[in-house]
């Protein structure tokens, strides 16, 4: 008996250690970024576009990349929301639970969710060559939209599934059509939609591989959708490969800016989710 107890104690210690390692990795990552990036973070970094000689260490900032990323992730989020809401309503409210179409479609989105962003990037790039579109904000938005539609659909699917069935039944029994019942449900899941939007936005703003060939890069803030746009992850990637210390330092600062944006998105989505679970008693 003592040996059996000892074994349990041994594994319990291992488990606690594993927990500590797994949960501390987040602090390790964020900590490294903050320590490295903070000394280089200046007001110029977030308020100026690259000036002449920026890439050999002269004046300027990464405002072009920050705005580019916001445009890109914002555009893709709006587009994918317009596609995902009808799809998830159709799958959950129009089709019967367990119908072949809805099962197949959900499986397809699960699989699409797992496809890496480099494959989406390569695919979108092929389409762009085919259509004769050059690397631009439009190309980037297309690639990122493809990437985040599965995230959006899966999240909305869960949210709609959590709405009590009685709500739909009550609406239908009062003579509402399925579309009118869907509008009632949509009002109910509004906080869930915010969560899905934040999740998709966070993924979209941080992804590199999908925008590497599709969005291009530019020192200017894009004014039209057919202009190339810089993105924050790509700016980090490029600056990091520079041999000049000042430029590398800017890469650390840009990484800190990106991390800050992501953490804000995550925290806001947690607050929204917490509020939502309070409403659905």
């Amino acid at each position: 008996m003592r040996r059996r107890k000892a074994e349990e104690r041994f594994f319990k210690v291992l488990m606690v250690l594993a927990c500590i390692i797994v949960s501390s990795s987040l602090f390790l990552i964020v900590g490294t970024i903050v320590v490295k990036g903070l000394p280089y973070l200046t007001w110029d970094m977030v308020s100026k576009v690259p000036q002449g000689g920026f890439y050999i260490g002269k004046e300027g900032g990464v405002l072009n990349a920050i705005i580019g990323s916001l445009y890109l992730a914002g555009g893709a989020t709006i587009l994918s929301l317009l596609v995902s809401i009808p799809i998830s309503i159709y799958l959950n409210l129009y089709l019967k639970r367990g119908s072949v179409v809805s099962k197949t479609a959900k499986l397809a989105y699960d699989v699409l969710f797992g496809i890496p962003s480099i494959v989406y990037g390569a695919f979108a790039f092929s389409i762009m060559i085919w259509l004769g579109v050059r690397a631009s904000l439009l190309g980037g938005i297309t690639a990122v939209t493809l990437l985040i539609i599965p995230i959006m659909v899966r999240t909305l699917d869960e949210v709609i599934a959590a709405v009590p069935k009685e709500l739909k039944h009550a609406a239908l029994s009062l003579g509402a059509t399925r579309w009118e019942a869907a509008k009632v449900i949509l009002r109910q899941i509004r906080p869930g939609i915010y969560t899905a939007v934040l999740l998709a936005f966070g993924r979209g703003i941080g992804d590199v591989a999908s925008v590497l060939f599709t969005a291009g890069f530019s020192d200017n803030i894009p004014l039209y959708i057919d202009e190339p746009a810089a993105t924050l992850p790509l700016a980090i990637f490029f600056q990091l490969s520079s041999p000049i210390p000042e430029v590398q330092g800017r890469a650390y600062a840009s990484a800190l800016i990106l991390t800050a944006i992501i953490l804000v998105v995550v925290i806001v989505s947690h607050i929204v989710a917490a509020r939502q679970s309070k409403n659905n008693v």
Partner: protein, 296 residues
């Protein structure tokens, strides 16, 4: 007919079309990549593509062997580091931990899933690379730049923590309490119950989580590219540099148009990734769906 009913029908059909279009992206991805890779497959023997280790696009030599090996090394290292850690963490969270600890830890791990790949890459360069270069490598081999498949594996391991922990702890929670109670009442300790009852019962789910994590590791591009050296030679040890398939695509996209068949070769790499990840995802999702239905 009532205008409201017509509207309902119209909306239904529009939604159906939208659903069909977006689902057919799966088919379009595979087909599109295949068509673009076709010129390479038409002129090269597919078996040679996999086993040849000469990569010289300008001479028309496309051997994917080093890149496939690079991907395998990095993935195997990542899984063998992450799986024990995540299994222990999930067991602790599901069976031992106080609810408050669970509520604190699960969101923390999920935040990890939201951190962008570039940030992982930057962390890898500043934390993992020097660690491997200064502490680990000198003990086992003569010298290493720190940009190795081991470094890539460590960074990837942290990236797949969220998938493993969230799915495995979810699966462990579906194990019926009666089974555990029966084992406990027969005199087994809690750990014995976990080892012999819970884990055995949870095996399909854990398997599915691992397959999902592998496919995630396969496709991860930028974070790995930044830390694993990008040397187009199949690695011999964990302290050698490697060159995974996704990194190959990302690094060479700019120049692929100038050399014949180069773009077809890169699209072939993307197709390869797509097929492997498609199959892996399909298998693990089917297993997970079955588990979910059994306990729903």
């Amino acid at each position: 007919m009532d205008i409201r009913l017509i509207k309902d029908k119209l909306v239904a059909n529009a939604m159906l079309i939208l659903t069909i279009i977006s689902v057919s992206v799966v088919v379009a991805l595979g087909l599109g990549l295949y068509l673009r890779a076709e010129p390479l497959l038409a002129t090269h023997d597919i078996w040679r593509l996999f086993t040849d280790s000469h990569w010289a696009p300008s001479k028309g030599q496309f051997g994917f062997y080093p890149f496939i090996m690079g991907t395998l090394w990095v993935t195997v290292i990542a899984i063998s580091l992450a799986l024990p850690l995540c299994l222990l963490t999930s067991i602790y969270l599901a069976e031992y931990a106080h609810a408050a600890i669970r509520r604190l830890l699960i969101p923390l791990v999920n935040v990890l899933a939201g951190i962008p790949p570039v940030i992982y890459g930057v962390w890898g360069i500043f934390f993992v690379v020097p660690f491997v270069q200064n502490y680990l490598a000198p003990r086992f081999s003569d010298s290493s730049s720190g940009y190795t498949v081991l470094t890539g594996g460590v960074v990837l391991a942290v990236m797949i923590f969220p998938i493993l922990v969230s799915i495995v702890s979810e699966v462990l929670r579906t194990i019926p309490k009666e089974l555990k109670d029966a084992s406990l009442s027969l005199g087994a300790t809690k750990w014995e119950t976990i080892k012999k009852v819970t884990l055995k019962r949870a095996f399909p789910g854990i398997f599915a989580a691992v397959v999902l994590a592998i496919s995630r590791a396969f496709g991860e591009t930028v974070a790995v590219l930044m830390v694993c050296g990008n040397i187009p030679v199949a690695p011999d040890s964990v302290f050698d540099g490697g060159y995974p398939l996704p990194a190959l695509i990302a690094n060479n996209f700019g120049e692929m148009m100038s050399i014949p068949l180069y773009d077809a070769a890169l699209m072939f790499a993307a197709l390869l990734l797509f097929i492997i990840i498609f199959v892996f995802n399909l298998v693990s999702r089917l297993i997970l769906n079955r588990i979910e239905h059994r306990y729903a």
